[in-house]
């Protein structure tokens, strides 16, 4: 084979270009930490990665939805707990008021406290998250019950709207409770209790029964809210686990295996340097250098 100078130069150029391209792509992997940097790096994997990024974005969104729902459920629980205490106190007062030995003045005093309880109950029903009344259904811009006078509360102002939270793919749950269902019986009972006490007669047994039914109703609502909080917790755990596993999968797909990427880069670098050294040696000499 006849070897000419131009072959040497051309070969040196193409070897150097090849080595440098390989070094560059190895360096890109190391510096970006990703093995997928553009669609052509591995079209099938990039395709899956786009899909998985979408899934991951959804999962993170579900986590945000769950947090949002949790804060609402938490506020509802606080309000219901306080309302439960109020109705409990009303129950004690009712039993006290049913005692025939009390005089009218003492009953009036009790009635004054019940009036305070009624207003406090309306205020509990007006619990807000941000600017939204949570017991008003979709009418979050209006308090569910308004205090119309001392111990007097108006009719329910909200609607029966059901707020749904998306807590997972194809998994939704109801968040809110209507103030109508939860607080109305208690408020009615409290109003009746005031009427009974103001009448100067001992509190009727039916009123006491009404109060304990309202208490049961509130306890049940609290149980429901507690169950929802648990479900949200569970959902958060399971979605969180999905986020972790999907992130790991995505990382497996996208991220470069650092030790092997660095080894690869060092190997490319060595090859490149060797090519440079050899090229420099070969290109320096020809017969001309030895003719004197």
């Amino acid at each position: 084979m006849r070897v000419t100078q131009s072959m040497l130069y051309a070969n040196a150029n193409s070897s150097l270009a090849r080595d440098l391209t390989a070094l560059q792509s190895a360096t890109e992997k190391v510096s970006s930490g990703k093995q997928l940097n553009k669609p052509s790096d591995n079209p099938a994997d990039v395709r899956s990665s786009v899909g998985m990024n979408d899934t991951l974005s959804q999962l993170n969104q579900y986590l945000r939805n769950i947090d949002n729902a949790t804060s609402k459920v938490g506020a509802m629980d606080t309000a219901l707990s306080s309302a439960g205490d109020l109705i409990q106190r009303a129950n004690e007062l009712a039993i006290q008021g049913a005692n025939g030995t009390l005089d009218a003045g003492q009953r009036q005093a009790i009635a004054a406290e019940v009036s305070q309880l009624t207003e406090a109950m309306a205020s509990d029903a007006s619990a807000k998250v941000g600017d939204e009344y949570i017991f008003s259904g979709f009418r979050v811009d209006r308090a569910p019950f308004q205090v119309t006078g001392p111990g007097q509360v108006g009719a329910y102002q909200g609607d029966q709207g059901v707020m749904i939270a998306r807590v997972g793919q194809a998994s939704t749950m109801q968040i809110n409770l209507s103030g109508d269902a939860v607080f109305q019986p208690a408020l009615t009972a409290l109003t009746q209790l005031q009427t009974d006490l103001n009448s100067g007669q001992p509190v009727q047994q039916t009123t006491i029964a009404q109060i304990s039914a309202a208490l049961q109703n509130l306890l049940q609502a609290r149980a429901t809210v507690g169950a929802r909080a648990n479900r949200l917790d569970d959902a958060k755990t399971s979605q969180g686990a999905l986020v972790t596993s999907n992130t790991a999968l995505l990382s497996q797909l996208e991220d470069a295996d650092m030790p092997s990427a660095i080894t690869e880069m060092m190997k490319r670098q060595t090859t490149y340097q060797a090519t440079l050294a050899v090229t420099a040696k070969v290109m320096q000499t020809s017969l001309i250098d030895y003719l004197r």
């Binding site: 084979m1 006849r2 070897v3 000419t4 100078q5 131009s6 072959m7 051309a10 070969n11 193409s14 990703k34 997928l36 553009k38 669609p39 052509s40 790096d41 591995n42 079209p43 099938a44 990039v46 395709r47 899956s48 990665s49 786009v50 899909g51 990024n53 979408d54 974005s57 959804q58 993170n60 969104q61 945000r64 939805n65 949002n68 729902a69 941000g130 600017d131 939204e132 008003s136 259904g137 979709f138 009418r139 979050v140 811009d141 609607d159 709207g161 707020m163 749904i164 939270a165 998306r166 793919q169 194809a170 809110n176 996208e254 020809s286 017969l287 001309i288 003719l291």
Partner: protein
């Protein structure tokens, strides 16, 4: 007996030959790095021997050597190799260009990333979820309109960038047409010079090298076939049409085609057939790949906009009014013109998140729109175009969940029938039916024929004469035309993300194939170039030894002349001086 001056002539011929050989070595060294240069060699032969005229053979030799003659200067060239180099140069030009252009396309879709269109789409749907969980929050509504705006901008940008690649290709094609014309003229002019040298019996070595070099440049752009003529000229053919014949060059014209793109044609208007080369790659990328990526991008933009708008318009905004379209776009150019309705962008209260008036806490419609993220769209098409007389049925992509079938792609056969004048009935594979009324159409008008419940949307375009609704019914229900088979065109249902991932995958595959082919082709060309260099390249070591060889020959020839001179000096000045003291 030969003349005493005979030896001087022999010496002179040797001097001339040695000098010629040294000159050629100098020429070789001078052109060692000239692209396309083939090393030259001096062919020397013995000069015709001198026969001593005599009647009877004396003791003298019959023929006397008379020195050396330069017969020709030839160049080392392998024509078969040159043809191979040309053919491979066309392929290399094609794949290199394809790889470069597709790399530009790829850079528009930098996936996987947290800022590409894929993540913008995910964020858009997420923003709807935030509105659904907190419909009274102005922040969530504003975030949504911002996200919708960045979705629009991203889709606009991608579409515009694809358009810019197509425009860039147009200007490259037109400058390549100029280059081809220039090269053709230069080759034709060299043909003329070569012809003149050849008919005098000489070797136009350097001119042939130059022509070969031009042919290789030409081959990279357009695939050139060559045909050698006895007079030394070369015919050059592009896709069967002669570009250069003898000293005449045909001209190529950069013409605008019906879509406004630059396409090469011959000066007489006939099409240029391009089996390979850079120009073919440019046209392929522009009309095949780039156009093929713009269509799904349009479908994606349209799918997101239409499906959002449909639900949004069914919703109620924070003012208690019915929703307005969230997105606007110009049909036929959806990706480039997608925009957020300026009214909604200006007032986030116009985001229709609720299902009823006076329900500020109701985010049910926002929730439904957010659910579109996982909705699967069906792409339904018609087997064959123009299957219905006088009309074209177009493929339509809709982003809505239908009841055609579960997630499996199966052949669906739909049958058209008519139950009343102007009423067209479509019967689905499961026997479910839906009817629509077909309106009369003026010339060139288009109307949508939507069998929404069956998931089939068709667009019907009237011909130049227009069409009455009743006639359209006849066209649809004519035997042989009345079955809509959506087999091959019925694609796997996909979400917006699947759809986009598919597009990215397609771009990645095309680009990675081009990269691979381009580097393979580079190896082939490198190998061939090496073989050409092996045959035709100048070796400086070889030339150095030759120079020493020829220098010695020259010195020896000069010494011969000196010796002859001394002999003649002896003969003329010294001979016959006997006895003169």
């Amino acid at each position: 007996m030969s003349s005493p001056f005979f030896g001087l002539d022999i010496g002179a011929s040797a001097l001339r030959a040695a000098q010629q050989m040294l000159d050629t070595a100098a020429h070789n060294v001078a052109n060692a790095n000239t692209p396309g240069y083939s090393r030259q060699r001096v062919t020397v032969v013995e000069a015709p021997p001198y026969t001593v005229p005599t009647f009877n053979r004396s003791g003298l030799p019959g023929q006397i050597g008379s020195g050396v003659t330069v017969q020709a200067i030839t160049s080392a060239r392998d024509n078969f190799l040159n043809l191979q180099v040309q053919a491979q140069a066309s392929l290399k030009g094609e794949w290199d260009t394809r790889q470069q252009e597709l790399a530009k396309v790829e850079s528009i879709f930098p996936e996987p990333s947290t800022s590409g269109l894929g993540s913008v789409i995910s964020k858009y749907w997420s923003a709807w979820q935030d509105v659904a969980s907190d419909p009274t929050s102005t922040a969530a509504r504003t975030a949504l309109t911002e996200q919708a705006a960045s979705l629009s901008m991203e889709v606009n940008r991608d579409s515009t960038q694809l358009g810019m690649i197509a425009t860039g290709i147009d200007s490259q094609v037109s400058s390549q047409v100029t280059t081809v014309n220039d090269l053709a003229k230069q080759i034709a002019s060299l043909n003329g010079q070569i012809q003149r040298v050849t008919i005098t019996g000489n070797q136009p070595n350097d001119l042939i090298d130059q022509r070969q070099q031009l042919l290789e440049q030409l081959s990279a752009i357009v695939p050139a076939n060559v045909l050698s003529q006895p007079d030394g000229t070369l015919g050059v053919y592009i896709g069967g049409t002669d570009l250069v014949t003898n000293v005449y060059a045909r001209q190529m014209v950069a013409a605008k085609d019906s879509s406004g793109h630059i396409t090469p044609t011959w000066a007489d208007g006939s099409a240029v057939s391009l089996p390979s080369g850079q120009m073919k790659a440019l046209i392929d990328v522009r009309d095949g790949d780039v156009a093929g990526y713009r269509t799904p991008l349009d479908a994606l933009a349209k799918g997101i906009a239409d499906s959002t708008n449909t639900l949004h318009q069914a919703g109620v905004d924070a003012n208690g009014n019915a929703g307005v379209p969230l997105f606007t776009y110009l049909s036929g150019n959806a990706a480039a013109t997608l925009a957020v309705n300026p009214a909604v962008a200006a007032d986030p209260r116009l985001v229709a998140a609720s299902g009823a008036p006076n329900s500020p806490g109701d985010g049910s419609v926002a929730g439904l729109i957010a659910d579109l993220q996982n909705a699967r769209s069906y792409s339904v098409g018609v087997a064959g175009t123009n299957v219905v007389g006088g009309m074209s049925l177009m493929t339509n992509t809709t982003a809505r969940v239908t009841t055609i079938s579960a997630d499996t792609a199966v052949a669906q056969v739909y049958t058209f029938s008519s139950t009343a004048p102007n009423t067209l009935t479509l019967t689905g594979a499961d026997g479910s039916t839906q009817t629509v009324n077909l309106a009369d159409m003026t010339a060139g008008a288009t109307q949508a024929v939507n069998f929404d419940q069956l998931g089939v949307k068709l667009s019907v375009t009237a011909g130049a004469a227009g069409k009455a609704g009743a006639d359209l019914i006849t066209d649809f229900t004519t035997p042989g035309h009345n079955t809509l088979v959506a087999t091959s065109l019925y694609t796997q249902p996909q979400t917006t993300s699947d759809f986009y991932a598919g597009l990215v995958g397609k771009i990645g595959t095309a680009s990675s194939q081009a990269q691979e082919m381009s580097s393979n082709q580079q190896l082939v060309v490198d190998q061939l170039t090496n073989r050409v260099a092996e045959v035709s390249g100048v070796s400086l070591d070889e030339e150095a030894t030759d120079m020493i060889r020829f220098q010695h020959a020259y010195q020896a020839a000069a010494r011969v002349i000196t010796t002859m001179d001394e002999m003649l000096n002896t003969l003329i000045n010294v001979t016959g001086l006997v006895g003169r003291g």
